[in-house]
Symmetry: C2
């Protein structure tokens, strides 16, 4: 009986990962490189996506999946307004996207026409970190007003990152943010993590991020 | 069999609320008025608690429970540094406090000496809204840099509030924040909600909040 119970738990844990694997296959076959974009509420996820679209168009076609906990299309509308396909997933109060939700989103997008798929996860520094969606990389948008102690307080999400973006650098003059303390916390959890400091308001740092992303997209095409 | 299953689910749902009721009884008997303080990561929960302590001392004894997802005592240390009792609850990666965790915290505090207990929940706008802790009021610290669309995107937490604090008003000159749009969203979800706009950096608005809280504490003593 005990063995049986353990097996049941394993099956539950693996269900999400199995669908995530399928999502990755679908994305690979379509030639769409994909980013799981996570952040705290209000860190500037949608602004960052808009700046990325602006920097990479017209050579890169970008699709967006917007995860929201409520049936509001504020973010999806912003993406559509700049002419890119966006599909909204309303989690119905759930605190994260999972692979099954993303699978449903993928079915609504013209994946063959998309070079880069950005999945905007629900605004939350805890729960999204625990669910593989089947995307290729995990990216966190941190922001200066959140404070310099976040890596120490939310270590799990930082451990799983491939890229870190520090947004709202334009607010540095007005906020007590110790960049060195923040970076030390990140380095402890995720040594050598690729990091970009940007301001989606002024555009500072976006070019460096866009160059790096172009490189990743080119490498993905060659595989 | 079907009926039995429904009963099991009901028992699970009620377990948290039953412990929450017990917590409320314990707090009432000790004469400690209590606040469940929720917010997004980095909205300024701990700074707001420190400002509240500063405004009400020495006439009000304040105890603090710090909910964290990791075993870091950054916030609890700040409370202890100003001479108030604080106990930390490490949720072990969980995304919210629940009534059982608070019960464990209450057992470590000198409740009879405490007039006001502030429970700093985990930084998260979604999950904490679903769990009654047994505190007397729910308070959210929103902050200007999070953006003016948060009531629309995270409606559940706004619906359950007794008090709303809008922090970091000192950053208003540097951020596109439409206060009217924000307040309309709040009004739609929670008409007539008691709201204070404050800056924990400059101290603006803290007096009005402290006056209101003194009134609530006095009223609670008379019951």
């Amino acid at each position: 009986m005990t063995v049986n119970r353990v097996q049941v738990v394993e099956n539950i844990l693996n269900a999400n990962d199995q669908v995530a694997q399928l999502n990755r296959q679908v994305l690979d076959q379509a030639g769409a490189f994909s980013i799981n974009l996570m952040a705290s509420p209000g860190a500037g996820k949608t602004s960052f996506i808009l700046k990325t679209i602006q920097a990479l168009r017209p050579e890169v076609n970008i699709g967006v999946v917007e995860g929201d906990t409520a049936p509001v299309t504020i973010d999806a509308d912003k993406i559509n307004a700049v002419g890119m396909p966006a599909v909204q997933i309303n989690t119905g109060g759930e605190c994260h996207l999972d692979a099954v939700m993303l699978k449903a989103g993928l079915q609504q997008l013209p994946l063959l026409e998309i070079d880069l798929l950005i999945v905007e996860n629900v605004g939350n520094l805890i729960c999204p970190a625990a669910f593989d969606l089947g995307t290729h990389i995990n990216l966190l948008v941190a922001s200066i007003p959140e404070g310099d102690d976040k890596p120490y307080k939310y270590p799990n999400i930082y451990r799983g990152l491939d890229v870190l973006v520090i947004n709202k650098t334009d607010l540095l003059p007005y906020i007590d943010f110790r960049m060195e303390y923040f970076r030390q916390g990140v380095e402890m959890l995720n040594p050598g993590l690729t990091t970009f400091a940007v301001s989606c308001k002024t555009g500072e740092g976006i070019d460096a991020w866009a160059d790096w992303l172009r490189g990743r997209l080119a490498a993905a095409k060659q595989v």
